[in-house]
């Protein structure tokens, strides 16, 4: 299968995402420039981490106007799998492809460290290869990952099972101590109501080789390979 990795000016995890899908997973991958008008016939799209357009104004606020985002929206509307990682997640929020917003971490500082997330739902393209309740050790690296939405929205997300990753302890318990940034309901990742657009703050592409401290992120990226090549979502429900 083929991944498109979108490059905004200021993206800085684009090479990491490319390396993970191309050299670790052995899939086809192509960088797509933010001014491009096509997603290069990709089967899945990754919006990588970084500081798109310097994150000036607000994280992701300018990136949503990049020409490529029209294509991303069309691709998503057609049911294509889209993964926003960290800054990519923030771009998806600003673009309205996912609900809610990010506040500054409650520590008021940038934090880079390994955390644990629990897979809450497996009927998305990016979790279909996981099992429910599985905990993954994946690093975060952000200053604004404190997920916020109005209580009604949070309630709707929970009801529709759109919360797909939650910060937990190593043993999978949802505690305040395990919440690195103050996110509502320990939310680390969400999917859209059609379940094909996924945003998460931790970086699965940084956790694809044991040498780097964890290979748990493979579960996320391998899921979409399975989804695309075997069409395997329905069975997971």
């Amino acid at each position: 299968m083929k991944f498109a990795v979108v490059v905004f000016p200021g993206s800085n995890c684009d090479h990491d995402a490319y390396h993970a899908v191309k050299h670790v997973l052995g899939q086809d991958a192509e960088f797509v420039w933010h001014r491009d008008a096509s997603l290069a016939d990709a089967d899945a799209v990754i919006l990588p981490g970084g500081f798109a357009h310097g994150d000036y104004l607000r994280t992701g606020a300018i990136a949503r106007f990049s020409p490529i985002m029209r294509e991303v929206r069309t691709f998503a509307d057609a049911g294509g799998p889209v993964l926003g990682i960290c800054n990519g997640f923030q771009v998806l929020l600003e673009a309205g492809l996912l609900p809610g917003a990010m506040l500054r971490n409650r520590s008021v500082r940038f934090q880079c460290e390994h955390v644990f997330v629990r897979v809450e739902q497996t009927d998305t393209p990016f979790t279909v290869g996981c099992h429910r309740g599985q905990t993954l050790k994946i690093p975060i690296a952000h200053g604004e990952g404190n997920y916020y939405a109005e209580p009604e929205t949070i309630e709707r997300l929970e009801r529709n099972r759109q919360v797909i990753f939650r910060y937990t302890s190593a043993t999978g318990d949802v505690t305040d101590e395990a919440n690195p940034n103050g996110s509502a309901n320990n939310i680390a990742g969400l999917c859209s109501d059609r379940r094909n657009v996924v945003g998460l703050m931790p970086h699965p592409e940084r956790a694809c080789e044991l040498q780097l401290g964890s290979a748990d992120g493979l579960a996320v990226l391998e899921s979409v390979v399975k989804y695309v090549t075997q069409g395997a979502v329905a069975a997971a429900r």
Binding site: P9, G10, N12, C13, H15, D16, H19, A20, W33, G49, G50, F51, H53, G54, D55, Y56, R109, F110, Q111, C112, E113, P139, A141, G143, H203, E205, R206, C208, E209, Q211, L212, G213
Partner: protein, 751 residues
Amino acid sequence: MKTLSGTPDPELLERHGLTRDEYQRIVEMLGREPTFTELGIFSVMWSEHCSYKSSRVHLRKLPTTGRRVVQGPGENAGAVDIGDGLAAVFKIESHNHPSFIEPYQGAATGVGGIIRDIFTMGARPIALLNSLRFGPLEDPLVRRTFSGVVAGIAGYGNSIGIPTVGGEIAFDESYTRNPLVNVFCLGIAKSEEIMKAAASGAGNPVYYVGAKTGRDGIHGATMASAEFDDKSAEKRPAVQVGDPFMEKLLLEACLEVMKTDALVGIQDMGAAGLTCSTCEMGARGGAGIAIDVSLVPQRETRMTPYEIMLSESQERMLLVVRKGREREVERIFDKWDLHAVRIGEVTNDGRLHVKERGQTVAEIPTAALTVGAPVYERPMTEPAYVAEAAQLALRSLGKPPAPSVVFTRLLASPTIASKRWVYRQYDHMVRTNTLVIPGMGAGVVRVKGTGRALALSVDGNGRYVYLDPFLGAQLAVAEAARNVACAGAEPVGATNCLNFGNPERPEIMWQFARAVDGLATACRALDIPITGGNVSLYNETDGRAVLPTPVLGVVGIIEDDSRVVRRTFERDGDLIVLLGTSANELGGSEYLKTIHGLVRGRPPALDLGLEAALQRLIVEAIAQGLIRSAHDCAEGGLAITIAECCFDTGLGALADLPAVDVDAADFCDISTLFNESASRVVASADPQTAERLVQLAAKRSVPARVIGRVGGDRIRIGIDGRAVIDEPVIGAERIWADTIGAFFESQRAIA
């Protein structure tokens, strides 16, 4: 041209940091009085910061060549061969003065500046480290400086996407109003594609690209060449403001342009801005450069040629493009939303011509500004304190506290305590190469596609250098190289940042010269060439100098990136092996400073032959799989080192040390536990292979002995069979881990 008439008044010269003799030299070189713009240009190019006028005669003593050296000093950064046709391009630089005046921007632009030095060479930057010095955190001003500097480093490095993979931080009163912020960057380039910062080919166009020029940073280089006093806050406009997003665009665009062969040369505009980049590029290429400042993109209105030439606005580059290839270069910059502007061309007369709308405002031979700068052999005197401070009589200190009390207090010393509060704010994983994260030993990054990795360490101990500059500087080299070796890497190259006080004082100059001698001696003995670096003088406030602090950044190569070793014990039941020997060496130690408030005695002795053998042994043993963890023994001595091997693992240790000979009986336990003898490493090894490790050490003439075993959940250390420390790992670790953060979290609670 409107030149100055007659000899300018002393106040004008003082503002430009020029002496009367230097002014006369300018007049002789020009054959006339300078214009005001020329005066400004000379003042920055002849500043200590740009000209190295006090240090140059000494720096010549450093070894700068070796079989792996691809680029020595003189370019934007040095480079060493790392195999496969690749070179590691690296350098360390200081941003001390700006970081005191405006901590966030001072530190951020320090990071930005060193990154530009690396990609200017055609290298993709892949790692940052930093070496920081502050006063005691009890002081609210220090806390503000400290948190601002850390946030600035994080803000810039994280945004641009280069991981900060290591560093060191130490605290001493002397740095209270003069912090040290030294930043190291390393990049990877193909050896044959390394770019030079030289202008050549008359008629080739000169391009300006990047941020617009404003009035920020005017006379930054002169500021960095002066001491601080109570008026320093007035210098705030001389601190630049950084924009990491702009630099990210420049980085990507420049690397893309360099893939074409349309560039002749490239140089960033760092200290002394457009002035330094134009005349240095001209001088290196033996050419001249003519520019018109009215073509320079400007952020502010009515800027004078003087201001445009001296501005230190950040994120700007100067390029010499091959004639006929202009469109190609412009197109690449356009893609990155950058506008490359032609501001002049290369000439063949060896002169820097500056025009404003066609009118000449400066015309100076480039050589006058660079090689023609004054060189001083400043007078030197051994400071009076040296002989006195060398005396250390332990008996006079009375009865020392119990070992367990000292152990706890040292763990809570900010110099020793965990720096996790700091490096958690740095993105240390981006680019997915980081094999050893900060706090776990030397930073280690793999070089994708080669199977190799690089280990990086920055080290320096100002107390040792204060007490004995010659020995202290050697110890800095030894420690940085030893740290790299402890990760399994062969040290292959170094860069240095020399932070000292006012060189016009003979005592400071003596410290400097002796320290450079020490660096040269140690680098020769350990076969580690110095490929570049930076000198930061005038680190003084109100006439009081910082501890003389040479910082060494050492790069090492790990041949097999699957054999990387960390500080921490790995497995219950492993044997603990001490490589090297201990002696009663408490001089300059953390113990004396923390418990008695003293900086006294002689620093630990260093046998460079033994040090070299030890480092080779560790690298060899790690490559053979005989060592599971290795940790350099530094501040706080063996007891602290063993404790640090336990932290972050949950594993305890049971060790027994042979007592060292001490003339004051009361200090036997203290000295055995906390002496800082050099050339020691605490390693752990599988019980099956520990014996082979000890034998290999014997063969390499390195003392080695099994001193204990990994296991349990307590740190238990005895001396000759008598228990002296017995603490739960979890309690000791909490003290060590929480110390630095507590200064800030409690502050927030009050606020």
